[in-house]
Every structure is written in C-alpha cells, then in structure tokens.
C-alpha cells in the first residue's frame, strides 16, 4: 500500500518539519518513505509544502500532484491544493487559519483549531506536533505507540525539554482526534 501525503502552509508554521517527522516515524516502523520539500521558486513566496510518500513496497514516484491525504495549515494552501486531493482522501485543516469550509464533498474532512489548542496546551511552538498527533491517531498511517516510543530517536540531538514539549503537544492532538473526530 502506498500513501502520498501533502503538508502545506506558511513558512515558519513547521510545515516541513511536520512532513519530516512523519517520514521519520514511518521509516522507524520499517516502511519505505520519501520526503520531497517544496523547492525552487515555490520556496521564495513565504509558503512551504512537502510531499511524504509512505509505502510497503519500493517507491516509484516520490512526487505527485494528486495526494491521497493533505494536512493544510492555512487558507492559501487550501485554495491551492483542495482540488488536487484524490476522491475519498483525507483532508486535515487548521481551522484557526482557514476561514472557509472546503468545497469538496468527496473527502473525509477533519478540522482542528490549532492556534487555540497550542495556546491551551501551553506550547504555542508545537502546533505542528498537535496536528501530527491528531492526524496519526485518526488515520493510523503509522503505529501511534511506536511513534511515542520513537520520540527520543526522531528528535535526536535536540534538548530533552523540547522532546518532552513535543511529546506533550503530540498527545494533545491524539486526544483531540480521539474525542472530537469520528471515522466516517
């Protein structure tokens, strides 16, 4: 099974690190992965995106313009990428910064108010970990216990308090998904 996930938002929102974390987590679980950050002229516009491919088999194309799932951090990214997501795909939206509902009816849309959740959790810098927690808990794309156990590895070289803070934020997301999102 091969899944391609788009992560998109403003530069500085932790878009690329979100994708990278996902890639690391899937890799730790023994999956084939590839991670392609937005590149070229795209990098200069203040927006960032990346494509993560997670597969049980060898990955042919690490690129796609029709991802199966998308994590969208802001309105311009929703406007740009909404139509590209494959029918039946998952669309995770940061509702704090996206002021419209998606037009698509054929997607599984999950929303969470990232800014508010991050402030409540006392870790405003870890919003991207919250969305990851929610996304992973909801989709099961990687084993959540495995991710939790891999935190120290994934954040290798980082200070321990940031690891703890990220872990805490991640769990806020997990909790949000488990209590507020229901599988459709």
């Amino acid at each position: 099974m091969e899944k391609q996930i788009l992560v998109a938002g403003f530069g500085g929102q932790g878009v690329l690190s979100t994708g990278l974390f996902l890639a690391y987590a899937a890799m730790a679980e023994g999956k084939n992965i590839s991670y392609v950050p937005s590149y070229g002229a795209e990098m200069r516009g203040g927006t960032a995106n990346c494509i993560v491919t997670i597969s049980d088999d060898e990955i042919s194309s690490p690129l796609t313009d029709t991802p199966m799932q998308a994590i969208i951090f802001n309105r311009p990214s929703l406007d740009r990428f909404e139509d590209s997501i494959q029918p039946g795909g998952v669309l995770v939206i940061n509702s704090s910064l996206v002021d419209r509902a998606p037009r698509r009816q054929d997607l599984e849309v999950m929303q969470l108010p990232l800014t508010e959740l991050a402030e409540e959790s006392g870790a405003p810098g870890s919003a991207n970990m919250i969305v990851l927690g929610a996304y992973i808990a909801h989709t099961g794309i990687v084993n959540i216990d495995y991710v939790l156990n891999s935190f120290a590895n994934i954040f290798k070289g980082k200070r321990s308090h940031t690891i703890e803070q990220n872990r805490k934020a991640f769990l806020v997301g997990v909790e949000y998904a488990r209590t507020r999102w229901h599988r459709s």
Partner: protein
C-alpha cells in the same frame, strides 16, 4: 545495516567521503550548495580539505591540481557554474586526470532559475568545452543512488583516468530518502603518472599542449580509443516492461521514477508501454534502446528540457521507429501528466 534518512545532496557528499575523496574545491551556487556545506563540515573530520574557491574557474583548476597530485578530488556546481568550469573540464579530460564533478542542475539558459531541470544534458554529454572529448555522466534517480554513484564515479574516474559527472535534478538533491550507508572504499588505484615529486623516477609532466600536427592528432585518437573502450564496457541502463513494449519511453534521473509510475498506470489501460532509463548518459546506452526495436513501434523521450536526449534516442533508433518528445521546464511533471503524454503518444502512434 540500519538505513539513515538523508538529503540527496548530503548522500552525495557522504558517498564521496566513503569513496575516499578528501578534497573538495567548490563555489556556492543554488541548488548545489548543500553538497559543499556538507563537505565543509565533514571533510575536516577525516583530515580532508574543503576549500571554497574564489570562482568556478579557480575551483575546477584546483581540482586539476589536486587530481594531478594523485588524490581523489571533487567539485560541484550547477548549470551556469558548470558552463564556467568547462575550460578546466576540457583540460582535465585532455590531461586524463580522474575527478568527479557534481552537477545539481537548474534550468537555463542564462541565469535561468533554480527549479529542477535536465537542461545540462548537452553540456554534460557532448563534451561541453572546447575540443573533442567526453566525460562519463551518471544520472542518479534516488537518494541511495546519489551515494552509490559517488562511489561508482570515483572508481570509473580512476579506472579510465577521466572526469566523471554526476548529474541530478536539483530536486533530487533536496529530497530525503532512507539510505543504506556503504562501507568505506579502501582499494586504491596506482597512479604512477601523478605529479607528486620525482624522487627515484623521471619527472612526470601533466600537459595538454601538443604543437606538432601528428602529435595532436595521435593524442585525440588516443582519447577516442579510450572512449571506445568505455562505450564498449560501461553503458548502463535500467529497463522496465520493455519485453513486449510497443511504446518505449526513455527518461533519466528522478524523472524516470515518475515515468515508472505513469508506465504502470498506462499498462492498466492496456497500453503496451515500457521504460528505458539511461543510468549512464555518456556512454549513452543505445544498445538497450535498440534491443526494444523487436517489439517497439515508437519511442517517447521525456525530459525536463526542450528536447536534448531525444537526439541520442533518435541516433540509437536510427530511423527505424518514430521518436516523440514530451518535456517540461523547471517542473518535474507529475505521474498523471506523464501518463497523459504516454496516452497521447500511443494514440498518435495508433497503439490505443
């Protein structure tokens, strides 16, 4: 061995270190700079030398000196920087000095852009600088190959005393994939020709000047005998689903993986399509392409440029089948886009 998640440019840099390269002379240019930055950190850890040159010209001439000294030496650049290096590359090819040149390509001409491109195919494969010569050119398609081809490139460079270029789209340098880190290369080639001091022997001379008419011609013939040997022994290509293919797509680099996916999808729609992916761009794997002529009714060259490799595909096919082209500039086309191009070509060729 556990795999490590690496950026393409870093895998290339580490591959060079594993290959025993201890000297990198370079000049900053996007999107190659991470190769230089990685080696600036890494080489001092292994008692190597990273030196940022004052110019692309200086960098390639430092490579000329370092290679003449007998060391495994590398430089890296991108499009416009490679253009500047061509003088030095011509000298290095003529002097038969082994070295590796990374071209993390961008689109041109002129300053162009930093978007992914394969626009340097001509300047990589057709000599590039003045005079009759070739580089060996390797086109990796994955981060693992960025590392593995660094090892291969240094080996080929020493084996044939020739500059070897590793040419990748800028995007392959930026993306990350798990890499199985290779064992360090310990085997060394003897380099009795190196200019490293003439103690106990006659002086060695590294020279590219041949004022005598016969001497110059013989020198060129010598180079081309070597190139013939390389062509006979070192053509490399990957083929997929070509056995019964009526339509054969030819694509290299990261793009070839996008094409793979599109080929698989097009097969599902009943198109007998296959892929030849040149791994060596020079020597060009023309035999791999010609072998497809048993079933192939047409060829499709897909490139991220306006059509450069297609000339070599046409030479390989030699008029025995039509060769179509699909290209983008500054964009790696998506699998869906490539699939559409395949379907369009198939329709044009009456293969649908």
């Amino acid at each position: 061995m556990a795999k490590v998640l690496m950026k393409g440019n870093e895998a290339l840099g580490e591959g060079a270190v594993i290959a025993g390269c201890r000297y990198f002379f370079g000049y900053p240019i996007t999107p190659q700079s991470e190769v230089a930055e990685y080696l600036a950190r890494r080489l001092p850890q292994v008692e190597g030398v990273f030196l940022q040159a004052e110019s692309e010209l200086a960098a390639i001439n430092m490579v000329y000196g370092g290679a003449a000294a007998g060391a495994r030496v590398m430089t890296g650049s991108s499009g416009p920087g490679i253009s500047l290096k061509q003088e030095g590359i011509s000298f290095i090819a003529e002097a038969e000095l082994p070295c590796v040149i990374a071209n993390i390509s961008r689109g041109g001409p002129g300053l162009g852009g930093i978007q992914p491109a394969q626009s340097d195919y001509f300047q990589a494969c057709k000599g590039g600088g003045h005079g009759d010569y070739h580089l060996m050119v390797l086109a990796p398609s994955s981060v693992q190959e960025m590392m593995d081809f660094a090892l291969l490139a240094f080996d080929l460079a020493d084996k044939y005393r020739t500059p070897v270029m590793i040419m990748s789209e800028g995007m392959l340098g930026q993306m990350m994939e798990p890499v199985e880190v290779r064992e360090p290369v310990t085997e060394q080639y003897a380099k009795p020709w190196a200019t490293n001091g003439c103690a106990g022997r006659k002086p060695n001379i590294v020279n590219t000047l041949h004022l005598g008419v016969e001497e110059l011609e013989e020198r060129n013939r010598h180079l081309f005998r070597k190139y013939a040997e390389i062509q006979a022994r070192e053509k490399r290509a990957e083929t997929m689903l070509t056995k019964d293919a009526e339509l054969v797509v030819v694509a290299f680099g990261l793009l070839s993986r996008v094409v793979k996916k599109a080929v698989i999808e097009a097969r599902k729609k009943g198109i007998k399509v296959g892929l030849v992916r040149p791994v060596t761009l020079w020597p060009f794997p023309d035999e791999h392409i010609r072998e497809c002529l048993e079933t192939a009714k047409m060829f499709l060259s897909i490139e991220i440029n306006m059509g450069q490799m297609i000339e070599d595909v046409r030479l390989a096919v030699n008029g025995q089948a039509p060769v179509e082209f699909y290209g983008r500039i500054g964009v790696v086309p998506s699998p869906r886009e490539v699939e559409e191009a395949i379907m369009a070509a198939a329709e044009k060729g009456g293969l649908v």
